[in-house]
């Protein structure tokens, strides 16, 4: 627990209307990790994320920043939000300024940075998400995927230690997802801790190194990605399906080589390569599996 940058202890939240959203959950966010919060729609993921930067104040339990309970006065909140950046799911809920550059400049200026420093940070943030050419564009003329990246850049320009993203890939096409994940990976490599919510087990498997499975306002299980996602009982209880990649990889019998869990293929390319390799060796070992192919070619 020493590495916990942000920790959630027995968090409970009841909406003013009386709807119970979170029922006593624990979560550790460790430095330098990529944590996926995996759960079906309506399981309370967004409510949890809104606690991570102090937007909501828990009705029970507490949130620890560096091991100390977080405060909810203005000063503490400012400090907190400087360190934990939250990107909402819907970019239109976040973008308010007329141009991309202006919108991204909002956060850094609120940190009290000078105009020159702000300009520098805006440039860097746009560069990191590969949208620098959009700087002078009007916010309302952007596509959904572009807006999403601008929203992330707006938080990024504040250089948070932890970047919390609510459903970052929702509504993006496969190309947009690849693009976004590439940019996030780069951020991660420069030391940013990432937390994201998703209902997509495939995404969690491909991308996170830790997963917390979320169901009905509670964390069912938290731990190393392949171990958590491979736990059928947990996945069934959370009404989620284990990732196809993981199931295929397990079928491939990777586990029998012993102690090689880490080498389970994590992307479709890796899995396909492994499959080809396996087929090729099978070919050599016992002919019948695919031996008919060359024979047919010879006919």
């Amino acid at each position: 627990m020493t590495g916990s940058l942000l920790a959630v202890r027995g968090l409970e939240y009841v909406y003013p209307g009386g709807v119970v959203a979170l029922r006593g959950l624990d979560l550790n966010i460790e430095h330098g990790r990529k944590l996926a919060i995996l759960g079906p729609n309506g399981s309370g993921k967004t409510t949890l994320l809104l606690h991570l930067n102090g937007t909501f104040q828990p009705t029970g339990g507490e949130i620890l920043l560096d091991g100390r309970p977080a405060g909810y006065d203005r000063r503490s909140l400012n400090q907190w939000r400087r360190r934990v950046g939250l990107v909402l799911q819907e970019p239109d809920d976040q973008l308010f300024a007329a141009t991309v550059e202006q919108d991204v400049s909002f956060g850094p200026l609120n940190l009290g940075l000078s105009e020159a420093e702000t300009r520098k940070r805006v440039g860097e943030a746009l560069e990191a998400l590969r949208i620098a050419p959009l700087a002078a564009r009007a916010t309302h003329t952007l596509s959904f995927g572009q807006k999403k990246r601008v929203a992330i850049a707006g938080i990024l320009a504040m250089r948070p230690e932890i970047l919390v993203l609510d459903e970052p890939t929702a509504g993006l096409d496969p190309h947009g997802v690849t693009h976004l994940l590439g940019a996030l990976q780069q951020l991660h490599e420069t030391g940013t801790t990432l937390v994201f919510s998703t209902h997509d087990a495939e995404l969690a498997y491909a991308w996170a190194d830790r997963v917390a499975v979320f169901h009905d306002g509670m964390v069912l299980c938290q731990g190393e990605t392949a171990a958590v996602l491979g736990d059928r009982e947990v996945m069934r209880r959370a009404r989620l399906r284990p990732p196809l990649l993981l199931e295929l990889a397990q079928l491939l019998g990777e586990s029998e080589t012993g102690g090689e869990r880490r080498s389970l293929p994590r992307s479709r390319e890796a899995l396909l390569a492994r499959l080809r390799e396996r087929l090729a060796t099978a070919d050599g070992r016992d002919g019948p599996v695919s031996a008919h192919r060359p024979r047919r070619a010879a006919e």
Partner: protein, 250 residues
């Protein structure tokens, strides 16, 4: 409106300091208001159309679209200036030479004046006016509100459009009474969503350290005195030409 906004953001002069566009445009407006319209009006209209087309690369079509509404209004309104009601030999309507002249002058003058403003709206997006408004002494809160409304207009216009499409798809406008009902439902829905949007925007802004002031970087548009001087020289030239022409005509 979409078209105006599009050109405002994409025209060739978009990056220029707003004062370089504002002062010459006001200069032209002043000429239109003080000099005799028959010569000044056409000259100003031509100047605006040509600078838009060849300077800012805004097609004539866009200018015509902006001028269409006021022109239609003038088309219906101006003729009434030409006729006068006369009771001297029984009640009757009369066309008088002065009336005709008045109608013509008013029409040309109004159209030329509107074209000056059209020049501004077609070359400068609202966002670029903010620093000027602040410098003119408009309270920061009001300027922020203007900018926020500008941004949200597009968000809600989009929602209204998709909402209407969804209603049309379910035959919500197949009869007049249904149409009225659907419009009412849509309006109510938009109102509710506006409130939700405001709440979520507040969360989004708070996450970025919002503390009551929507401060953002001003666009970097250095003022070119040379270009401003050239613009004002053009205005002076039009003024002189118009004066000379007017004297020649009379």
């Amino acid at each position: 409106m979409r078209a105006i906004d599009h050109y405002a953001w994409t025209n060739r002069w978009r990056g220029r300091h707003p004062a370089e566009k504002l002062l010459p445009a006001f200069g032209l407006l002043l000429l239109t208001l003080i000099l005799p319209p028959p010569t000044t009006g056409p000259l100003v209209l031509a100047t605006v159309a040509l600078t838009l087309a060849y300077g800012a690369a805004v097609p004539l079509r866009a200018l015509l679209a902006v001028l269409a509404a006021p022109a239609a209004f003038l088309l219906f309104g101006a003729p009434f200036l030409a006729v006068s009601v006369n009771f001297s030999d029984g009640p009757g309507l009369h066309l008088s030479p002065e009336g005709l002249r008045l109608a013509r002058d008013t029409g040309i003058r109004a159209l030329a004046a509107v074209s000056c403003l059209a020049f501004l709206t077609l070359t400068t997006p609202l966002a670029d006016w903010a620093p000027l408004l602040r410098r003119a002494g408009i309270p920061a809160g009001v300027v922020e509100l203007i900018l926020l409304i500008y941004r949200l207009i597009f968000v809600f216009a989009e929602r209204a459009l998709t909402g209407r499409r969804a209603q049309v798809a379910r035959l919500g406008y197949s009869r007049i009474d249904r149409g009225v009902r659907s419009t009412g439902l849509l309006a109510g829905n938009l109102f509710q969503r506006a409130l939700e949007q405001a709440r979520r925007l507040e969360i989004g802004l708070a996450a970025r350290g919002y503390s009551g002031e929507l401060r953002v970087l001003s666009p970097e548009q250095p003022l070119s005195w040379l270009r401003l001087a050239a613009g004002m020289a053009l205005v002076a030239l039009i003024g002189v030409a118009s004066g000379l022409l007017a004297r020649g005509l009379s």
